[in-house]
Amino acid sequence: MLLQLHEPGESPAPHEQDRGLAVGIDLGTTNSVVALAQGGAVEVLRDGDGQALIPSVVQYDEDGSVIVGREARRMILEKPEQVVSSVKRLMGRGIEDLKSLAGTLPFRLDSAAEGGMVRLRVAGRTLTPVEVSADILRALRARAEEAQGKDVDRAVITVPAYFDDAARTATKDAARLAGLEVLRLVNEPTAAALAYGLDHGAEGLYAVYDLGGGTFDLSILRMEKGVFQVRATGGDAALGGDDIDHAVAEHFLAERAATRGDVTLTEGEVMQALAAARVAKECLSTQREGDWMIEVGGIATRHSLTRETLDALAAPWLDRTVEICRQVIEDAGIDVADIQGVVLVGGSTRMPLVRSSVKALFGRDPLANINPDEVVAVGAALQAEALTAGSDTLLLDVTPLSLGIETMGGIVEKLIPRNTPIPVAMAQEFTTYQDGQTAMTIHVVQGEREMVDQNRSLARFVLRGIPPMAAGAARIRVTFTVDADGLLTVTASEGSTGIEQQVAVKPSYGLTEDEMATMLRDSLEHAREDMDSRLLAETVVEARRSVLAVQAALGVDSDLLSADERKGIDDAIAEVERTIASSDRDAVTAAMDALEAATKTFAERRMDRGIRQALAGVAIDSLDESIGG
């Protein structure tokens, strides 16, 4: 066994080897991929046929069984009422969000559900997008566990950079349902850059053009000496290769209608037309023309399509991506010429028109030497290893959308502008506008527009318990924090009295804690044990850390203790260690409390000594006066 040296604060958690594996997951709109990094080498986990892509399609059979992947996708035509696809487009979405997409989505929405996240009607059941995504994640987890013969309980999951808070929260909730602890949500373009950066030692400014099935983003990153800094990011959470499939399918159906007249299509026929359109689009990446069949009312028709026609159909969507690219480059405060490379991500970037559009905009051939379907999962796996085994690389990401609050007249006041490096915290002071007012409502929105109703509503919450005083006298300080996953939390305190308040944020399109708890109970028979073992693991980590801290203190200051006092502390440490071995969480907690009590005097004497030394002009060691250049 090799001896490993770690700097303080950088050592891996004790008994890291006790934990299950940590994988990287690209949870895509159309397909998902799972990969595992070990010692910097990444393995994309494949099925028996060597397929890395698991279609993000779930079939809910009448007998209650759940099938994910290619088998489920095959059932789209046969049993459309049992199959859910492209569910990622619904993550964190309310029913009113989907009105503009009405008729183009392969979903049956539960119109009875009011407010909150949309519900799907599938094979007589009502499901949330979170539950469907959890089923996909379970399948990915099972594939990884099968391939490795080990438990997999943690993951880095990628999300489009443009995903808002609601969609990120929904993704994290889905992982919880699938029994996976999310180490970090990483933006897809950042993951792709990580995969390229580490492989090629790239330095400088890079653009990542990610056109997936349902989402588009462009990100500008600076890579330098192992630091991946996102400079700017932007995109459209409802623009992707699926839109091109729809355009092609509509073209086929219009051709057909021109000769055979209009007919109302069944759901299965629409699906079949879309499937033919997708095949046509994919084939035309390598060939110049071809014929495809559409079947309506039992009568098949043949439709030919050339690459030129496909390009014309796809052009409006690709023009939109180019427009977004220009905006992001402007946001980053750079010129196109400053960009040293363009990375292509997403299956849709295989289209020759995408490659030529990107080349025309950036003036250089894009990089595509890592499989665009797998590159995101590869980056996620590398990050999962970095987070568990330690690493020198650093990902510094930004907020994709501005965060603001509603003010008088429905106008948004921006608090945290887009492209602000995260984690970030911003405090804002509010006051009352009526005498004796004891509560106020705060509405948080995300987006770039000026009016509240043009942006996404994230959450509304009520600040209560404001001490009654004259209008304008109360000082309520509300702090908005966006963590490294891009998730928002809110805290509030009243300035004149110092009353601190934990704010219960009710997500506009998310699931409440109660709903999550119910789902956890219903969905996983082991959920209870999973939860218990996680709490125990956390307590044990904390206990081991306390023991190490006390031992370190004894190492420098044990002369402050009498032999009896020393024995008291040593006994308390032995008791903590004994309870850790017993796996009884309450006993560990009690032993830690006893250790804290046993070391109280010791701690006081150490502080006294420190202060005396400081007064005498002795510098307290500080590990980080400056960073060497």
Partner: protein, 206 residues
């Protein structure tokens, strides 16, 4: 630095003394919360308007590399929260000092001569008012990409001149002049931003 004893606080983990600006306890190695220190101290840079951009980036990345939440993904919730607070404080310090306008305003505040750049009220200064009106009019009338680009460049070079003026004012300890120029810099940067946006719009629709 005030009284030396006030620069010491107990480590939350081993309870021993630790310098309040230390990232880690020197005894037990536990990550500490961000102490209440100014942005320059946090990043270990001299308190001046003239800032070495390379040193700023080096200090920021070096410190971030050590405290970023990614380093604490498998640690206890408390250590995760502290590292997030540290990373947040570093981002705040870096974002403030990186931007000349925010840096000028921040330094004026530190030196006890705060200037309010958020109030977008009237311009009291006649010369500044005339200059801004002329530049805005020119931008509104500009119809070609070349003309807009030229105006953007003019605004940007005025900004550079303005920054040099701010630097000289700070060095001469003339805080009124520094505050005055900071307000001018704010209007110039807004104008430059609008010119860039207009340039992009024109490029997009040829």
């Amino acid at each position: 630095m005030n009284h030396p004893a006030s620069a010491i606080a107990p480590c939350w983990s081993c309870k021993g003394p630790v310098a309040s600006r230390a990232l880690f306890c020197s005894v037990c190695g536990a990550v500490q919360g961000p102490g209440i220190v100014d942005h320059y101290t946090r990043l270990g840079l001299p308190r001046s308007f003239d800032i070495d951009q390379d040193a700023l980036e080096r200090q920021y990345l070096g410190l971030q590399r050590r405290v970023h939440p990614d380093r604490f993904a498998s640690k206890s919730p408390r250590e995760k929260a502290l590292s997030q607070a540290q990373a947040t404080a570093l981002n705040d310090a870096h974002d403030t000092l990186k931007d000349p306008l925010r840096r000028a305003a921040y330094l004026l505040g530190l030196l006890g001569s705060p200037v309010d750049l958020t109030a977008c009220g009237t311009i009291n200064d006649r010369a500044l008012l005339m200059e801004q009106m002329e530049m805005r009019e020119a931008l509104a009338e500009a119809g070609t990409r070349e003309r807009v680009a030229q105006l953007a460049m003019e605004a940007e070079s005025a900004m550079i001149a303005c920054q040099c003026g701010i630097s000289a004012a700070f060095n001469a300890n003339d805080l009124d002049q520094a505050g005055h120029l900071a307000i001018r810099l704010k209007y110039l940067s807004r104008l430059a931003e609008e010119a860039r946006a207009k340039k992009t719009r024109i490029t997009r629709t040829p």
